[in-house]
Structures are given as C-alpha cells and as structure tokens.
Symmetry: C2
Subunit: 318 residues, 2 copies
Amino acid sequence: MARTTDPVELFDAARAGDRGALARLLSYIERGGELARRVGRLAYPLSGDAYTVGLTGAPGAGKSTLTSATIGHLRGLDLEVAVLAIDPSSPFTGGAILGDRVRMQDHATDPGVFIRSMATRGHLGGLALATPEAIRLLDAVGRHWVLVETVGVGQVEVEVAGKADTTVVVVNPGWGDSVQANKAGLMEIADVFVINKADRKGVDETRRDLEQMLELSDLPHDAWRPPIVATVASTGDGVPEVWDAVLAHREHAEQSGVLAERRSFRAGEELREIVTNRLRERAREICTGDRWDELTEAVVAQTTDPWTAADEMLGDIA
Amino acid sequence: MARTTDPVELFDAARAGDRGALARLLSYIERGGELARRVGRLAYPLSGDAYTVGLTGAPGAGKSTLTSATIGHLRGLDLEVAVLAIDPSSPFTGGAILGDRVRMQDHATDPGVFIRSMATRGHLGGLALATPEAIRLLDAVGRHWVLVETVGVGQVEVEVAGKADTTVVVVNPGWGDSVQANKAGLMEIADVFVINKADRKGVDETRRDLEQMLELSDLPHDAWRPPIVATVASTGDGVPEVWDAVLAHREHAEQSGVLAERRSFRAGEELREIVTNRLRERAREICTGDRWDELTEAVVAQTTDPWTAADEMLGDIA
C-alpha cells in the first residue's frame, strides 16, 4: 500500500487498484471535515456510473448472510462488487455493531470484492453526509455495483437505506407478529421484499401480510409493485431470484424515469444536508466562550429562558 | 375540557387539573414552531420541581410492563406520576410504534396518572427539543415525578433516555448473547440496571456480565456504581426495590453535586439544540427558490459539485 497520506496520491493509487489506499480514503470520508471534502472533490467528476442496492431489515433478519450470498452470486456472474456496511455508532463510545460482519469474511481475500464497515462518531448528520461520498469514491475507483447494508431500526438507518437506487427489505417468516419493527418505514422504502429463512414455517402468511400491506399502501396503477422473493440465504436458495428482482426494478426505474427522479431528489437532499452541516459547524462556533457559559448558567438558574438566550447568541445570523 | 385553542387559557386550565388542556398543550409542543415556543415560555418560570426517571432498553425487554408496575408502586405511595412514552416516528409516515402502550391502560382512569405518547415527525432535532419542553410543562402543571420511557435502539433514542435525572436500563436474562443491542451506549447511561423477566434462567450470568462490564468501565473510586435489580415486572416482583434504587441514586446525585452538573450540562445541550434548530430553519429558507433548483440540477448533471453549490447558497451566513 502507498505510504502517503496525501489524498491526491492516495486517490491515484486507489484508482490503480490499491485497496489500502481506498480504505484510507474511506477513513478520511468517515472522519468528515476538510480532508473529507478534498476526497469528495476528487471523486465527484469521475463518479456517475455506480448502481447502489440497499439491503435493510430488523436485527437478526439475515441481512449479512444475504449480502454475502449476493456477493457470491455476483462473483459467479464475473461482476466486481463493493459493500458498505453501515454501523450506527454509539453516541458515547463510537463503538460499532460488528457482530454479523464476520459472515462476510468468506470474500475477504477475493480482489473482486471490497467490503467496508462505515461508522461515524458524533453528530447525526454524519452518516447522511458520509454515505453518498463513500459511494462516489467507490464509483470513481471503478466499483460500479455497490451494496449498502444497514440495520433498519432507527430513523437515521432507514433514511440511509432508503437512498439506494434499489432497496431490498429483508423480513422473516412471522414478522407480522412483531409490533416492534419499524414496519411503516420499511414498507415505504422497499423496492424488493425478501422473506429470508424461508425454511421456517409461516412463509405464506408473511407473503399474504406483505401483499395486504401493499394493497393498503394504494400504489398508483402504473407504479412498480415490489416483488416478494423467498430465500434461505445460508444455503443460497432464492438468491439468484433476488438479484433478478433487483435488475427488473432497475430496468423499470430507468425506463419510467423513477431512477432519474430519485437521484435528483437525493442530490437535493445531500445539498441540503451539506448546507445544514455547515450551519451546524457555525452553531458550534457560536455556542462557546464566556458569554455562552454565562447564558447557560442563567438558564439553569431560571433567570433567562432558553429561547431568549438562543436569540442573544444567534444575533443577526438567524 | 376547555374548548379554547389559546395557549394561555389552556395553560391555566391545565394548571387547574384539566387533562384535555394538558394533552392539547403537549400536542403544540410535539408539533414545534412558534406555538411550541409560546407554551415553553409559559411553562418555564413555573418549572424546576420535577424529577425525571428514564426507562430504556431493547424492544421486548419489558419496559412498558415495568413502567406500568412502577406507576402502581408510586400510586401505592400516594404519589402522582406522569409518563412520557417516546415513540421514534417513521421518517416517512410519522407512524408511532404503539404496540406495548396498551399495557399502561390499567392506569388510564386514575386522575393521579397522566400518560402520553410523544412522537415527532420530520427532522431529527424534534425529540431532543420537544422532550425537555414536555417535561417542563408537566412540571409546571404540578406533575413532579415524570417517567420517560424510550426504546434504547437508535442513537437518538439513547440520547433522549440518557438525559433523565436517573436512568434505568432494562435488560433480560441472556442479553449477553445478543450482539445486536446497543450495549456500549446503554452501559454509559445506566444509573440503575434492571434484569427483568428474572423468572427465566440466566439471571446470575447476566448479573455477572453486567458486573464485569462495570469493572471494565473503570468508574472513579467515589462514583456511583449502578445497582443491579432483578424483577418480574408482570407480577410486580422486585419493583419496590427498583424504586428504592432510583431514590438511592437521586440522593447520591443530589449530595455529590452530580445532579446539578447533569442539569447544567443538559441546559447547555438544550440551548445548543435550540440554536442548531434555528439555523436548521434558516437552512430550510435558504434551500428553496429558483437558484436552489438550478444548483440542484447542476449537481445532478455534474456541472457543479455539491460543496461549491452549498458555498454559493450559504453566502455570508456560514
């Protein structure tokens, strides 16, 4: 691996196939700030060819196993693939949830596969900013199939998952019994449903449950209707059918203009996120210093209310 | 119930015991914006007496059952109690996860108990802003014990849970086997651990697991060491002991100055959140109009990169 820390040299090395250089650039993106922006500006003009497939679902649904099986299928078709496994970090320790990732290590030595766990510490805007940048970087270095795996539990995670070109939602037989999963959110973002662990009982009920929810969701007559594919990801059963469903959705999305619309919407969202983040950085600059400490103490002592204090700190800005 | 929509009249009615008026004011807070700020300014000077107890844990750990049993215990002590059940909304539909809340309906007709589910639609700052405002309102109308129940899955939820005066983390026997729970985050915020469903096997192992994690977390010599209480919330076993542990933590926190520090930190956090939110509103104003649409299209067409576009929109602000 190139021993440089310079983004331009690393970018050239990554384009020439240096995986260590690519990994380091992704770390820059993860960390955010000026260095991330420099990587972004390098990758941007060379991106635009990647197709992203999101895989999401409740913890334990078998997303990582399905991702791993999908990698195997794509390698069989002689396609190169990159995987971004999005780890929501603890706000306190930055510790990533990595348990399942070991299942992907089967592919660790295959040069046609690049797997990366992404975690961002600190502010909530992190993943929303870092994920599209990481995808553009992978795109720019020639990885045109990018699988994005996220845990579909929280609002941020579902938002990130819903930003793929095609989103696969993984459920299990019997998920209808669980009131805890973020069902409504997952229904909205699904382009393909996978009922994984279909060797267990309850597949037909789950299929009916999903179909009923699709009926209720009142899709327009000419809209894409998410197909429902049963799989046993651990044996590979149904995995080619999942990929066929992804390709069918891609074709529909390209021809109907949905893909262009979705990408345009996404670009707007990202731009808004960049603007918001810049304002957040500005807020961090504002919320500091002696006057800030005085106002905080005044709020605690109930001599000033928080809105009046905020007004004073913001001054002319907002 | 008062048929007015005026916040001042509703506030007076709520202070006189009108639950419908209180519910309406909480809706104003949930929705955010100018009306929420007016309610906030009314409640602020009359608040400062409430003590908040957070209850959090993984889905299915039995938080709602424990909350319900705790309400019963407090009513037995002739204390009035309010419960805020925080529902992270779907970003797409605003649909709240309400399944478990039915368990609390036992107390629905008791005038000494006020239970409210809170959900905020849209932006992520919502819960962080609305929760302290809702607590101040409950405080101002005379509810001085406030239980805040959240699902401890995502980053936002854990952050909200960690902002209580005393935070109770609910786990189950065998949670040590699960790699999916946000353990590190939950460890950081726990003032009291509850091993609920302690009629199942594995209680001793779970206790050892928690004790080991507490050892590793390297607490200062004189710091509070979270007690570990075993409960069967569905029968009420152990519930008085949980409450005793909460009171013991409260006493420690008051006498050691930890409570004052925590509240001061929280005030700073809230002030920062208000500032950030005002900047976010400003960003929404910026991110609109013809020039915004043009720049978004230019980003999609790859004739401008997103950072350059953001610079142009922000101008002198940031």
